[in-house]
Amino acid sequence: MTENKHHIISLKVYIIVFFTLLLMTALTIITAQYNFGSLNIILALVIATFKSSLVLLFFMHLYYDNKINLALIIGSVLFLGTFIGLTMIDTNRRTDLYKIKGEVVNKQARIYDNHNTNQSDH
């Protein structure tokens, strides 16, 4: 059994990726100290996406791997985007129908309990 087909990533690549990740962490903390308005969240997410791509491609070996695994994880990101994207379209337009922004949420809110008390009220 002299099977050694798997790619062994060089120490240099790991170290470069590691320091890039640390640098990006510093960058995201530094940029958070300044206010760029609505760009804040976009900048934070771009940096986080870049960092996670590095982790996926090198620490998780996707760059060298069978591309079916890459397809799987990209698929999950697409579903995540659809899920949050469509929900946000709904969430953001609800204010057209009724006031919901900043409305007080009952601290004791428990949906099942409320349901029961509503029934007993009648």
């Binding site: 099977e3 798997h6 590691f18 962490t25 100290q33 996670s52 620490f59 799987l72 409305e103």
Partner: protein
């Protein structure tokens, strides 16, 4: 002897390589379900932040950026040592692999200790989820302006809590790897469990990479 050497090989696969690829594909499928589990929480985060933008900015000041940032560095370092452990097993250097696995376990423990101090402070200040939210007026506690701060802490505790459970699960798996590596179960020809636990551990790091800016660095 040859039987013992290939004892990991299961008869329903064509060859060990196919077995390895199939295991890894299965692990990635599991990681997809993990991403989608957290997607529910990220979605809740997006909805409540859209409805309470000012409160989120005020409430995030109750979180400690230094502790959160330290934990980010700790997790990234643990990801490196995990990746190096796999590399050393691929190079048939079990001793270096065990050292790196122990380091990974140690960093995971460090993460949880820091997390404990963060949680401890939240409990002290009454910055707790939902009905348990009961802010303490004290100079060492941030007072939060705006409606619904309890919602922020519901989201904070659910997201970091589920992530913390994953860290504990990862620690259990890494301990199991250390025992098996010590017993000499792994070689360059067979190290699938190390590879798969490695993938899981990197996912835990990956989720934290998003949690950190979204919770600690809102601006």
């Amino acid at each position: 002897m040859s039987n013992e050497k290939t004892s990991y090989f299961q008869h329903h696969f064509a060859d060990p390589e196919q077995q390895y690829e199939a295991s890894k594909f299965g692990m990635w499928a599991f990681l997809v379900t993990e991403v989608l589990t957290f997607a529910g929480l990220f979605c809740a985060y997006a909805i409540f932040r859209a409805w309470n933008p000012e409160m989120f900015i005020n409430a995030h000041k109750a979180l400690d950026v230094v502790m959160g940032g330290t934990n980010t560095v700790v997790l990234i370092t643990s990801s490196l040592t995990m990746a190096l452990a796999i590399r050393y097993i691929q190079m048939n250097n079990n001793k270096a692999a065990i050292i790196n696995l122990l380091l990974t376990l140690m960093f995971a423990g460090t993460f949880l200790v820091i997390k404990y101090f963060e949680y401890e402070h939240k409990f002290h200040c009454g910055h707790l989820p939902g009905a348990f939210y009961n802010p303490l007026i004290s100079p060492d506690c941030v007072s939060i302006e705006g409606n619904n701060p309890h919602v922020f802490f519901s989201i904070y505790f659910m997201m970091t809590g589920l992530h913390g459970i994953h860290v504990i699960a990862g620690m259990a798996l890494i301990s199991w790897l250390i025992i098996r590596t010590t017993k000499g179960h792994f070689s360059p020809a067979y190290y699938t469990p190390v590879e798969l636990v490695g993938l899981f551990w990197h996912l835990v790091d990956l989720i934290w990479i998003f949690l950190f800016p979204l919770l600690y660095l809102i601006g």
